[in-house]
C-alpha cells in the first residue's frame, strides 16, 4: 500500500487485517476506540470476523477459543480493559495459544482517565495474570512502528504459540503520521495442534487445555514455557540506540516520551552536552544488551516515563549498579515536556539538585 496519513489506532487495525487476521474480539474503550471502529467497518470486507463482546473478559475468552481453533486472532483495549483480560491471557499462555493483544494505555490507577500514560508497564511485561509466565511485549513510538510491530507480533505469536502484546500509549493511538502498511496477505493456517474439527482426518483429538493436575505434567509445561521465553529473549530483542558510546548521560524512554527525549538530544547537542538515548522497543525481552555499549565514564542514566517509575526497574537490572539511575516522570496524563527533562539533565550533569 502507498504511504498515507493514519492514526496509530487505524494503522494497527489496517496492519492486523493485512497480516491476515481472521478474527477480532473486543470491547470499546477510549483511547483505542478508533481501532475497534475500524475493525468493525473493514474486517467484514475481507471476510474476517468482527465481534463486539459483552465485556473484556468475554472478549479474551473468545480470543482463547478462536486461537484454539487455529484462527489468526487479535483483541485490543485500553488499560482497565487489559486488567480484565489478564485471566484469559494467563490461560492462553498455559494452553499455548497464539494471539495478539493491543493495549493503548491510559491514565490510572482504577478507571483513571483517558489521557496517555505508561502505568501499565508492569502489567504488560511481568505476566499480568496468575502463574509463572511472561509474554513478549513490544512498544511502538511511531505510527509506522505500530503497523510493523503488529505484523511481526502475529508471526512471533504463531512461532511460539504464545500471546504477544503490543503496548502503545494513548498519544500513539491518537496521533496521525505517514505510514506504509504491508500488503494484504490471506492467512493460511498451518496449525496441526489446533482443535479445528479435522480430528477424523488427523486421527487424533487435539486438546486445548490450561489445567494440568499432575505435578510433573505441570512442571514440564512450566519448563516448556520458560524455554520458549528464553529463546524469545535471545531472538527478539529490539531497541534504538543513539550516541550512547560517548555520552555523559543516557536517557531511557519508550513510546511517546522517547519522542520528547529526541527533542532533548537536539537541545543537548546545541549546548554541547553529550546525551544519548536508549529506546526499548521490546519491553519483554528488555534490551539489556543495549546498556553494554554505554560509555564506561557515563555519569548517569535517566529513565523518563509517563508513570511513577516502572521501566526504571528493568533499567536498574540492566546496569547492575554500574551507573547511578535517575528518574523523571509525569502522571495523570500530563505529557513529558522536553524542556523539563533537559533541566533535569543539566542538574544531573552540573551536580546540582
Amino acid at each position: 500500500m502507498a504511504k498515507k496519513l493514519m492514526k496509530g489506532n487505524e494503522a494497527i487495525a489496517q496492519a492486523a487485517i493485512n497480516a491476515g487476521a481472521t478474527h477480532f474480539f473486543g470491547y470499546p474503550i477510549t483511547p483505542q476506540s478508533e481501532l475497534i471502529e475500524f475493525m468493525a467497518r473493514e474486517m467484514p470486507k475481507v471476510g474476517a470476523c468482527f465481534l463486539q463482546a459483552e465485556s473484556e473478559v468475554a472478549a479474551s475468552y473468545m480470543v482463547y477459543g478462536a486461537a484454539g481453533a487455529g484462527a489468526r486472532v487479535i483483541t485490543s483495549t485500553s488499560s482497565p480493559g487489559l486488567a480484565l483480560k489478564q485471566e484469559g491471557l494467563t490461560y492462553m499462555v498455559s494452553a499455548e495459544l497464539p494471539a495478539v493483544i493491543v493495549n493503548i494505555s491510559r491514565g490510572g490507577p482504577g478507571l483513571g482517565n483517558i489521557l496517555p500514560q505508561q502505568g501499565d508497564y508492569f502489567m504488560c511485561t511481568r505476566g499480568g495474570g496468575n502463574g509463572d509466565y511472561y509474554h513478549p511485549c513490544f512498544a511502538p513510538a511511531s505510527v509506522q512502528e505500530c503497523a510493523d510491530l503488529i505484523v511481526e507480533a502475529f508471526d512471533i505469536a504463531d512461532e511460539y504459540r504464545m500471546p504477544v502484546l503490543v503496548l502503545g500509549d494513548g498519544m500513539i493511538g491518537q496521533m496521525m503520521e505517514p505510514v506504509e502498511i504491508p500488503e494484504y496477505k490471506k492467512y493460511v493456517p498451518n496449525k496441526p495442534w489446533a482443535a479445528d474439527g479435522n480430528h477424523i482426518a488427523r486421527g487424533v483429538h487435539n486438546r486445548i487445555n490450561a489445567m494440568d493436575l499432575a505435578a510433573d505434567v505441570l512442571e514440564a509445561k512450566n519448563n516448556k514455557i520458560q524455554a520458549k521465553l528464553k529463546e524469545i529473549s535471545e531472538k527478539y530483542v529490539k531497541y534504538e540506540s543513539i550516541d550512547v558510546e560517548d555520552a555523559d548521560l543516557v536517557l531511557v524512554a519508550y513510546g511517546t516520551p522517547s519522542r520528547a527525549c529526541k527533542n532533548v538530544l537536539k537541545k543537548a547537542k546545541e549546548e554541547g552536552l553529550k546525551v544519548g538515548l536508549i529506546r526499548p522497543i521490546s519491553l519483554y525481552p528488555f534490551p539489556k544488551v543495549a546498556f553494554d555499549k554505554i560509555n564506561p565514564k557515563c555519569k548517569a542514566i535517566l529513565a523518563v516515563e509517563q508513570s511513577c517509575g516502572q521501566m526504571i526497574e528493568d533499567v536498574r537490572l540492566s546496569v547492575l549498579g554500574k551507573y547511578p539511575v535517575e528518574f523523571f516522570g509525569r502522571t495523570g496524563g500530563n505529557p513529558i515536556i522536553p524542556e523539563q527533562v533537559f533541566e533535569k539533565v543539566k542538574n544531573i550533569l552540573g551536580g546540582t539538585k
Binding site: 496521533m175 503520521e177 527525549c261 529526541k262 505529557p335
Partner: protein, 177 residues
C-alpha cells in the same frame, strides 16, 4: 525547516480539519508530519485543539505546549494559547469571532475576518479555510497549490460541488495577508 503549529477553537469550527490539512499538504510535499489532537472529556461546544509539526527531518515530540504559530478560532483559545507562541512567532486570530486584541508585542499578529470573508463567498462554514489560506501564505509551511490539490482530492463524488468554494476561501484568506 521545522514548523510547529497549534490550531484551537470551538468543536465544530473545523479546527482539527485545518490541522489535518496542514499535515496532509506537508505530507504531499514529501515532508515529515505529525498531527496530534488534544483529546479528553470535552463538552459540546467546548474547546478543541490539535498540534501539527511539519519538518524536513525526523519529528520528536508531537504534542506541543509551545509553537511557532498559533491559529486561534475563538476567545478561550486566544486566552489559552497566546502565551504558547514562541518569541518571534505568529498568531492568527479569527477576528470575526474574537473581538479582543492580542497583548503580546514580541510576536506577529494577524487578524483575519475569516467568517465574514467566507460568507461573502457563499461558504458560511468556510471560515477555517480562509484562516488556513492566510496561515499558509504567511508562514510558507505548505504551498497554496498543495492545499488546492488536497481540497480536490478530499471532496469527490457527491461532495465535488464543495471544491470551488473551499478553494475560493483559501485563496481569499491568502489575499488578506
Amino acid at each position: 525547516m521545522l514548523e510547529q503549529v497549534i490550531v484551537a477553537g470551538f468543536g465544530g469550527q473545523g479546527v482539527l480539519r485545518v490541522g489535518q490539512m496542514i499535515a496532509y499538504a506537508g505530507f504531499s510535499e514529501g515532508k515529515e508530519v505529525t498531527w496530534a489532537p488534544s483529546y479528553g472529556p470535552e463538552m459540546r461546544g467546548g474547546t478543541a485543539n490539535c498540534s501539527v509539526v511539519v519538518s524536513d527531518s525526523e519529528i520528536g515530540s508531537a504534542q506541543l505546549l509551545e509553537a511557532d504559530s498559533v491559529i486561534a478560532m475563538n476567545l478561550p483559545s486566544l486566552h489559552k494559547f497566546e502565551s504558547a507562541v514562541l518569541k518571534g512567532g505568529k498568531l492568527f486570530i479569527n477576528s470575526s469571532v474574537i473581538k479582543e486584541k492580542a497583548t503580546r508585542t514580541d510576536i506577529s499578529v494577524y487578524y483575519i475576518d475569516a467568517n465574514t470573508v467566507a460568507e461573502k463567498i457563499g461558504n458560511a462554514k468556510g471560515g477555517n479555510m480562509v484562516i488556513l489560506g492566510a496561515y499558509a501564505k504567511v508562514t510558507g509551511t505548505v504551498s497554496l497549490d498543495s492545499l488546492y490539490e488536497l481540497v480536490k482530492k478530499t471532496f469527490t463524488g457527491d461532495k465535488a460541488k464543495f471544491v470551488d468554494s473551499n478553494i475560493a476561501c483559501i485563496k481569499a484568506g491568502a489575499e488578506l495577508v
